[in-house]
Symmetry: C2
Subunit: 220 residues, 2 copies
DNA sequence: GTCTATACAACGATAGAC
DNA sequence: GTCTATCGTTGTATAGAC
């Protein structure tokens, strides 16, 4: 059986799943477990033993499939970046500014709600100085921001928004939305909620959207 | 000699330095080294060996002064919280909203510039689920926000600003300012600068302040 | 191809020397 | 009081069994 009809998620990597059924299944389990462990313990704090335990495999077996701990980490991070690129691409000059920016903020915040572990892994990778993601940041993300900067400059020239620094505009939106994943423990402690609820996220969306749109002079 | 005339920094803890001159000096060196290592490697990634090397002491000697790695970490974190509490307390009902919020944003961003390591340690502590800082978040920080929420509500009732959610207002400002310390590697990569410059921080202050003030309807 | 017993380095911590 | 030789444990990784 060459083709796969496996309904299981492949862990988020962009390549088509390769190898036999057992290999696919075990690699997927390892990646899923690793996302959890890396998010909770950080790169150094994560152990292949804990990843193996959650994945339901022997520790040594994890090393059979991935070789090194860093290889697991790289695949987890690659999946996260892949998700990021697919989810947040649509801000074009033809869009209505208020609609496009509102949708972007909402998407980012829903991503913080649905995939907090991914966001936390991304965050710790950046805080560590981005040893793995540096090329991505310097090339892909930089190009993305430069492209969007032109859109924002055009909108400003058309009088549809203020002429704010596009770079810092995005830094602010990224920070304000990702904080609900990365700093969830702080936010829930301050709110007095055990866990963040859907209503908290809706209020976050409303507040961030309102301040950003009005603050940039974007007409609703 | 009971009293100390030591000009060296004690590392940021709030207790008066105790013990002999050697003890003081070595503890200070360990704390300073530990701040660096914890910020760069995270709690688990940090090793007492590296802390000792940077501090110029033998590894075992570090354990003599602090006993455990966690004890070092607790003292580092305590110093950071102490700094936070001393630096960002002044937003009162008598203040002019624009002046007070502008000053707060500026202070937070200058803190990101001057003490990025402290900010990163705080960030990773929160991302880890705040195992050490949870009580601080649930009590002290929560009380602080509740007090400031009353100030913001008063300002809103007086028509001096919009009625935005005070909690999410602060989450946004914290995120937007701390990101310049925590995510400096991402920001510098996107900007194409090797390191963040003073001009970058000034532009960040200008952008964040402008968007927040206008976005909340605070008259300048 | 899949999995595990084993190796070996590095960790935090301490008992004991100075 | 100060410092270091040494220990037990746990980490990643591999050689070899199935």
């Amino acid at each position: 059986m060459v083709h796969s009809f496996d309904i299981e998620d492949d862990g988020g990597a962009d390549e088509a799943p390769q190898g036999g059924r057992i290999r696919q299944r075990n690699k997927a389990r390892i990646i899923a477990a690793a996302e959890k462990v890396f998010a909770e313990r950080g790169y150094d704090g994560a152990t292949t033993a804990e990843i193996a335990e959650i994945a339901g495999l022997a520790k040594s077996n994890v090393h059979y499939y991935f070789g090194t701990k860093e290889a697991i980490y790289r695949e987890v991070v690659a999946g996260i970046v892949d998700l990021w690129l697919k989810a947040f691409g649509e801000i074009t000059a033809e869009d209505d500014p208020a609609t496009a920016i509102s949708a972007y903020i909402r998407q980012k915040l829903l991503y913080s709600r649905k995939r907090p572990l991914a966001s936390r892994i991304f965050a710790t990778e950046i805080i560590r100085g981005a040893p793995i993601l540096r090329p991505f940041l310097e090339v892909d993300l930089r190009d993305w921001v430069e492209a969007k900067a032109k859109v924002l400059a055009l909108w400003a020239a058309q009088g549809r928004m203020d002429a704010v620094s596009p770079h810092h505009f995005f830094f602010m939106i990224w920070a304000a939305t990702q904080t609900y994943a990365d700093f969830a423990s702080q936010i829930s402690a301050v709110l007095g909620h055990k866990r963040l609820r859907e209503a908290d996220f809706e209020q976050a969306i409303a507040t961030v959207t309102a301040i950003v749109l009005k603050g940039c002079g974007i007409k609703a």
